[in-house]
Subunit: 155 residues, 2 copies
């Protein structure tokens, strides 16, 4: 075994993997129980709402929420059918499309927001001091950067 990653790092990686899965699992469970949108949909709508004009190019959106391109296409298909989002052609690039949140999309996201926040508060905010939260960000951003640059992945 030529490359050995330290025990501490392995443990950290593993604990992270598990913690995150449980957190997401719990959020999804709570959303489903309350009959709200799924976590994936929530992420899409929130990402759009956070963006300038409530819209984003398909590929930008896919990058941000880490969906495959084809996955996003079909997700937006569904959301469009539900009336949460509409597609809008890009004026300056005829290949491109924007996904745009509709008022209805904003509404359902807002309804789900309460549950997500409550759950996140219980399982995340209480486990982490404010300093720890602040310290975590640059570390995780460094991980992201390394992962992205390690080898380009065609989406």
């Amino acid at each position: 075994m030529p490359h050995i990653i330290s025990r501490n790092h392995q443990n950290a990686w593993r604990s992270l993997l598990i913690a995150q899965s449980w957190a997401i699992r719990q959020i999804e469970f709570q959303l489903r129980k309350a009959n709200e949108i799924s976590f994936d949909v929530y992420e899409v709508l929130q990402t759009l709402e956070d963006s300038e004009g409530g819209k984003l190019r398909m590929s930008d959106l896919a990058d941000r929420i880490l969906f495959s391109r084809s996955g996003l296409t079909r997700m937006i298909d569904r959301l469009e059918e539900l009336g949460y989002v509409v597609r809008e052609p890009s004026p300056d690039d005829r290949r491109g499309w924007y996904a745009v949140v509709t008022p209805k999309g904003k509404e359902v996201r807002h309804r789900a927001c309460d549950i997500v926040q409550t759950t996140l508060q219980a399982i995340w905010e209480r486990s982490l001091s404010d300093e720890e939260a602040v310290a975590l960000v640059p570390v995780m951003e460094s991980v992201t950067k390394s992962a992205r640059n390690y080898e380009p992945i065609r989406g």
Copy 2:
């Protein structure tokens, strides 16, 4: 919006979400490129190898790798077909089954291990000091505990 989680905690959560997705994505990409088993399979085999006697009850295994019960059943179906794992009835509980790694399973995991370790080293170990890794574990364990206890999820 009654419950507001702090900006810092939100950023931390988001950065974690993204970092992890990228890391897993990259590991999966590397494994596929090298024509090795998938990350999920790797996790199953490793978890089994780490266990007493190389075996684990189906539901224990499902809990550790955070698979749904039905998902695990089918995963073990596939692995059994490939000869990486066998099922073995539990002697003291006739409902229960063990999944047991075979030598062939150990071999393929071992082959994949090099790639996983190398990738993990590049994107994880380098982004995190040893102290940071050590500090992360209890925090993440606290998250896991909160998420598990927040409300029991039937798998």
